[in-house]
């Protein structure tokens, strides 16, 4: 078993490292895929494992995006002049400045959303069930509306992130840089989530999901663990947002950063499609969703949101357990569930 795992993981890593060279025309798509997987996996950590279905993780994603860009610009140039119309043309980042900026920016983008999640966690995570869902939905949209009114980060007209340094002439470099950055974050996120899956922490989160009052009665400080769980999600959402900001090159308050209508729903949908509360579910869900989206989007141009809405309804109504849940139902032995032969026979007879 151990050996099998080793082959699987090394195979995946080699595939991941070789992918931008094998499919060099799809580097941007692959970067998107990595980011989507990270978002789905970390959403699953608190949506699937903890049972707190959040629509508001987009808050951390957008926050990370704005923070990375602001730090990257603000470290070297006045931010207010940059975001004025055409400001990005007067100031040019050198190569060293660009990479320094994005490094520090991503660090800030990971830390600040985590702190924010911790700070608001006590108030927000006290809400139960659907109140939590609606509250986080409100948070995400409020953040977008407020960011759209703040002058220094570009307000309604948007914020152009620093362009990739012109001194690097290799046309492939930009795509490769962002791909490997996102792949690194993906590997980090996977190792982290995998570690959590083997730890006591996951059992605590599951206990909170299954019955919070009983978990509390068993002496688990549920609030503490809920906040930590949310902070874990926020950390990776912030990082993912920072990378996406650099990749897209342009930040708009409601259409790119706090894009609750797209990214915010995608991460929930991908996790549910793959199967909530499993390690591989969100990864498979995100990959499937991305292929479906990119493959189909161009054929149904203009109708993609209708398709998205229908897809949400179909998945949620007919496959709420997701792909992994369906497989688990079908092949329970593969998931380490022991089946009593007598019991199974009895069930077959009943049918």
């Amino acid at each position: 078993m151990k050996q099998k795992d080793l082959i699987l993981y090394s195979g995946l890593i080699i595939l991941g490292l070789a992918a931008p060279f094998l499919f060099s025309a799809f580097k941007v798509q692959l970067t998107y895929l990595c980011v989507l997987i990270v978002l789905a996996m970390t959403w699953n950590l608190q949506g699937g494992e903890m049972g707190y279905n959040s629509f508001g993780n987009i808050l951390f994603y957008g926050l990370g995006m704005y923070l990375t860009a602001s730090v990257q610009v603000g470290m070297f140039f006045p931010l207010a002049e940059w975001t004025e119309s055409g400001g990005e043309k007067t100031f040019v980042h050198t190569t060293a400045q660009y990479f320094q900026g994005i490094g520090v920016g991503l660090l800030v983008a990971a830390i600040i959303p985590t702190i924010v999640a911790g700070a608001i966690g006590y108030a927000i995570l006290g809400l139960r069930g659907h109140y939590f869902a609606i509250c986080t939905l409100g948070l995400g949209i409020a953040a977008g509306e407020i960011a759209g009114g703040i002058e220094i980060i570009g307000a309604g007209q948007g914020f152009t992130t620093p362009p990739f340094p012109a001194e690097i002439v290799d046309p492939e470099a930009r795509g490769q840089f962002f791909y490997f950055l996102s792949f690194l974050v993906l590997v980090l996120a996977f190792v982290f989530v995998k570690y959590i899956y083997g730890s006591r922490f996951r059992l605590i989160l599951n206990a909170i999901r299954d019955n919070e009052d009983k978990a509390e009665a068993m002496g688990i400080q549920t609030m503490k663990y809920k906040i930590v769980g949310w902070m874990c999600s926020a950390f990776f959402c912030g990082l993912a947002g920072g990378i996406m900001g650099g990749l897209i090159g342009y930040i708009d308050s409601t259409d790119v950063a706090f894009d609750g209508r797209e990214m915010g729903v995608f991460m929930v949908l991908m996790a549910i499609l793959g199967g909530k509360g499993t390690l591989w579910g969100p990864i498979i869900g995100a990959t499937l969703f991305h292929f479906f989206k990119e493959g189909l989007w161009t054929f149904i141009l203009g109708w993609q949101y209708v398709a998205l809405g229908v897809l949400i309804v179909v998945i949620v109504v007919y496959f709420p357990e997701g792909l992994m849940g369906w497989l688990r139902e079908k092949y329970p032995e593969r998931f380490g569930e022991v089946i009593d032969e007598k019991d199974r026979k009895a069930q077959v007879e009943l049918k």
Binding site: G126, G138, A142, W303, V317
Partner: protein
């Protein structure tokens, strides 16, 4: 404080009147939400989009040369069937499920509605002209569009009609019985499936009326549905389910809050303020409730 509103007291009168008239309209939408939440235990994220769809029906009539005010009669009839069809297609499959499932499913419906409206009616901000003129108060320092007064009047009228209907009619009694205990109602011969469909239809019809009124008092745009959902959700959680006077009062309170936020924070933060208020209300509610369950600690 150098806000304009504190310098000119007349602006306060203006904002208050605007807010109250607007709030009555919000209360009508919230009443629909309270109805279906109470009866079917579903949170309908597409509520706001049903409102906008109702508004577009009135707007289409306006384009066809009919006075848009007739929309308050035509729109609910069409919307009743839209709601009924929606129930038969999707909602009946999520009624008994987890609330989160219903939130996500109606979120999907909302996206479909937004996009279809965008295709059919275009992405422009539109308004149907009622040409009712304006009323000037206090030496012309406060202007009040007659359409707003009209819309508040119609909202109250419909709300009263609905309350009477729910009290007196057979279907109304069946709906109230199902809300109290669906199982018991079923045993006693109420066709709950029919009641659910009717409830969702009535909710959509209420949205249709509100939409028609919004088309003459405010503006329509395919993507502005969600704020209406959130407003009605807020009103319902503040007022509680099935408490009509409280719904009316908290609706007006929300209208007042919005108008004052508009003057004090600026129009660009208006929607942001609404969503922040939602977060604050929920958090306040959480701390209030957590005092009650202190014994668990």
């Amino acid at each position: 404080m150098d806000f304009l509103i504190f310098k000119a007291p007349m602006l306060m009168v203006q904002a208050s009147l605007d807010g109250i008239l607007l709030g009555i309209l919000f209360a009508l939408i919230a009443y629909g939400m309270a109805l279906q939440w109470g009866v079917m235990n579903i949170i309908n994220i597409a509520q706001g989009d049903l409102v906008i769809l109702g508004g577009y029906i009135a707007y289409t009539m306006y384009l066809a040369g009919i006075h848009p005010a007739w929309g308050v009669i035509v729109s609910p009839i069409i919307m009743y069937f839209v709601g009924w069809a929606l129930y038969k297609l999707v909602i009946n499959k999520v009624v008994d499920r987890d609330l989160f499932i219903s939130i996500l499913a109606t979120f999907g419906i909302a996206i479909v509605f937004q996009q279809l409206m965008n295709f059919i009616f275009g992405a422009d901000v539109v308004v149907a002209q009622s040409e009712y003129g304006t009323t000037m108060l206090f030496d012309n320092s406060v202007t009040l569009p007659n359409s707003k007064i009209f819309s508040a009047f119609i909202s109250v009228l419909y709300a009263i009609a609905l309350v009477v209907y729910m009290k007196k009619s057979r279907l109304g009694r069946a709906i109230r019985a199902t809300a109290q205990n669906a199982r018991a109602a079923k045993i006693l011969g109420v066709d709950t499936e029919k009641v659910y469909a009717a409830t969702f239809g009535i909710n959509a019809a209420l949205c249709g009326i509100a939409g028609a009124l919004i088309s003459i008092t405010l503006t329509l745009h395919p993507y502005v549905g969600l704020p209406y959902t959130v407003r009605s959700f807020m009103i319902v959680i503040v007022a509680g389910l099935g408490n009509l006077p409280a719904v009316a009062i908290s609706g007006m309170g929300l209208g007042l809050f919005e108008e004052f936020a508009d003057y004090i924070l600026g129009t660009e933060f208006r929607i942001g303020a609404v969503f922040m208020l939602l977060v604050f209300i929920l958090v306040y509610r959480r701390f209030k409730l957590s005092k009650k369950r202190e014994y668990l600690k």
